[in-house]
């Protein structure tokens, strides 16, 4: 039975027609997937559904009746709950307080904290995680744990429709399995899920139907979840995008020049005795589960964390440990995992962001050379195909893929020898991904040593010359990328400590 129908939804912001003609139909008990590139209107549509934005035109029908969603509270009352990509939880208060935030059970005006705790405990058990105590402080939970709290909140509202905006972006493989199991149980109870993800394979796994948005319009509605990838990508982009990794004609690795050398790097409780080296023009991929220590290693190499032991050297010269300033001076650059929180100054223009690490080069006696800054920024934006290539615009105005390019542009302008990329394509749409891949290859071709961390094994294998596989903070395999397959890497990653290096090698062969 149809739960929600949206027809002809339109929404205009000053200067932008964010939604033009959006139709969406969600049935009870289905997982309805919403596809579209960054900028296609997904986020705006979600905000309309959650009551955060009011549509200018169009009609919403909820369980057969015409409905309006004047506020987030109204949407929740109807039974529409939204789990945002950036979770909207209060980190300093407990799980139970978060779940019942805004609708605490009360008696005579006093909160019934025990009732809230008990109810929360039941909900967490239903979600398969009874070990998360209702009294835990939410800020201390992992990303996956926080997501469960967000989901528990939706359930506490008796939601009939749960909107999930890229719920797997921050999850490890086993946590994704748990999420999908929960989604399965919810839909069995007749709850509908509106699922947004850039990962097509997830849509295959759990999706019922697919609606594709492009430029604020519905270009295809209610396709079956097994629609061929080519067709979906064509619909999203309106052009043919080569989603496979660009093939490199010849290897650009210069084995005579070892640019980055890491030996015995250790941080207690995070990783131990990590050693690797990257040649000029080489792309080293690092695979492993979330929590295996990937980001921590990159940040330690970059000096943002201080190692307990071990050395980092660039071109054979040791780099002072625990100092970002020294690492940058030595020629290391990092595109951090959390683009917005760690990488960018959203209130500043692109040009200011791009030259941030090269201020001495763009100044004379401390005074900025603004003409050259603008010129070089613009040239770099064009080189990376960052659109619109207007360096004076605020970074906040750009989509995720373009923001990522801005971070890379910063290190291009600086001319770094080593570039560390932490999850460079997270939250980036298909088209922009292909461009980022091209950029990574170009950098390697120019002699930069690239280290790439990604949760997507296919990406690591497709881009890297050599792959390092991590498990529990240790290197368990270090091989050429063409010797590995996706399933082989997953086997190594998932395997318990019983599997030895030798056994893993046999599997590969």
């Amino acid at each position: 039975m149809t739960l929600l129908t949206m027809t002809g939804i339109g929404k205009t912001f000053p200067g932008v027609r964010a939604l033009d003609q959006v139709d969406l139909e969600v049935a009870e008990g289905e997982v309805h997937c919403l596809l579209g590139q960054n900028g296609a209107g997904k986020s705006t549509l979600i905000k309309v559904l959650s009551g955060a934005h009011q549509p200018d035109d169009g009609e919403i029908t909820w369980r057969g009746d015409k409905a309006t969603l004047p506020s987030p509270v109204a949407a929740l009352r109807l039974g529409i709950a939204t789990m945002y990509q950036e979770l909207d939880l209060v980190p300093d208060i407990s799980v139970a307080e978060n779940v019942f935030l805004g609708h605490e059970p009360t008696r005579f005006g006093f909160t019934r904290r025990k009732a809230a705790r008990n109810h929360t405990r039941t909900l967490m058990a239903r979600l398969g995680h009874p070990e998360i105590s209702p009294d835990r402080e939410v800020g201390r939970l992992s990303a996956a744990g926080q997501q469960l709290v967000s989901m528990a909140r939706a359930l506490a509202h008796d939601a009939r429709l749960i909107v999930m905006d890229e719920p797997t972006a921050a999850l490890a493989a086993d946590e994704v399995d748990n999420l999908f199991r929960i989604v399965g149980e919810l839909t069995k109870d007749g709850v509908a899920v509106l699922y947004i993800s850039h990962r097509l394979e997830e849509i295959r796994r759990i999706g019922t139907r697919v609606t594709v948005l492009k430029d604020g319009r519905t270009v295809a509605a209610n396709l079956p979840a097994h629609t061929p990838t080519d067709l979906l990508v064509d619909l999203m982009s309106g052009r043919k995008v080569d989603t496979v990794f660009p093939h490199r004609e010849t290897s650009t690795v210069d084995t005579t020049r070892e640019v980055l050398t890491v030996t015995g790097l250790t941080r207690k409780g995070e990783f131990s005795d990590i050693g690797f080296h990257v040649h000029a023009g080489e792309v080293l991929g690092i695979a492993g589960l979330v929590g295996a220590g990937r980001s921590e290693i990159l940040e330690t190499v970059f000096g943002a964390r201080k190692p307990d032991a071990g050395h980092v050297a660039v071109d054979g010269k040791p780099v002072k440990p625990g100092s970002v300033v020294a690492a940058v001076k030595a020629g290391i650059g990092l595109a951090p995992e959390e683009r917005k929180a760690q990488g960018l100054l959203l209130d500043l223009s692109v040009a200011h962001n791009v030259t941030l690490s090269s201020l001495p080069a763009y100044s004379r006696a401390g005074f900025m050379d603004r003409a050259r800054e603008l010129k070089d920024s613009k040239a770099t934006l064009e080189r990376l195909d960052l659109r619109p290539a207007d360096p004076r615009r605020l970074v906040a105005e750009f989509s995720g893929g373009n923001q990522q390019k801005a971070v890379v542009a910063r290190w291009l302008v600086r001319g770094c020898k080593v570039l560390l990329l932490d999850e460079p394509t997270r939250g980036v749409d298909v088209g922009a991904r292909a461009e980022l891949y091209r950029v990574i290859h170009e950098l390697a071709a120019a002699g930069v040593a690239v280290v790439l961390v990604s949760s997507e094994v296919a990406e690591v294998l497709g881009l890297a010359d050599r792959v390092l596989v991590l498990r529990d903070g240790e290197v368990v395999a270090d091989r050429r990328a063409d010797e590995l397959t996706e399933s082989a890497v997953l086997d190594i990653v998932m395997a318990g400590s019983a599997i030895t290096e030798g056994a893993a090698t046999e599997e590969v062969q």
Partner: protein, 334 residues
Amino acid sequence: MSDVTVLDPKSAPPQERPKHRRNLDLRLTGLLGVLVVLCIVGYATRPDSFLTEANISTMLRLAAAIGVVSVGMTFVIISGGIDLSVGSIVALAGVWMTTVATQSYGPVVMVLCALLVGLGCGLVNGLLISYGKVVPFIATLAMYASAKGLAERLSGRRTQVVTETGFTTFFRGDILGIPVLIWMLAAVFAVGWVVLNRTTFGRRTFAVGGNAEAARLAGIDVRRHTALVYGIAGLCCGIAALMVVARTTSGASTNGMFYELDAIAAVVIGGTLLSGGRGSLIGTLIGVLIFTVVGNIFTQNNLDTDIQNIAKGVIIVAAVLLQRTTTRRRAHAT
């Protein structure tokens, strides 16, 4: 919000000023409007005296010290901090430069003394905050108390009159018919504006205040920079101390009282975000002038200072509310 921000590149001609610049312009124009309205009120109530050269000169000389302190405060707030100790540093620097011992070395030493005391106190603030990891509110609150205490101890709570005539002759004099104090105010603002908007130091200040973690990961020495920003604020207090001493020909531990509140108020109504990362020195200057003109209107009309304080409070709230509505409407899509 990424969905709504991808504008068609063709729709925005490249020569147009970027949206955020236009927002800033709009805000400053609004503030300037308020200042103009206040001046009209002043002229309407006192047509004979308000717009005279003597009165304008008096107003600017009164605005000079607090204006200079506000320049330093703008740097601190843009960098994401706060400085509650400015008033006490003005008092301490003023007292130290007017002790009998300091005065005996002559005017140059007096000036240097004020500047060094200010800079020193500021750097202590900065080091405590950046390397000692004390939150700015607490570190500068501690400095507020101890600098004030030290000033009282040095002066024995007595007003120290300046007997050094070289000092008073110069700083109370005119250059090209304009009082030295006003020249100093203009110079500090001009230098501050250039540093904030045209140098690497200014860039780093915005970066550190906008997102300290991102600035750190971009290779900026955030701690050193933070320490320097508080040093600048302290130096501004030293300069302001000179100006107060020159104006009153005395140093006392009660100098600079409530400067911290006036400076923060001026910075905030000037459109600088208290959370850091965004701000404007021109806004701060207009903010200082607005308060000075309000004070002057009240004095000229022989109204009580208590009503004046109420009016100040209303202006702060009104200015902030006004700016928020104008920027919201404009920046809706971002």
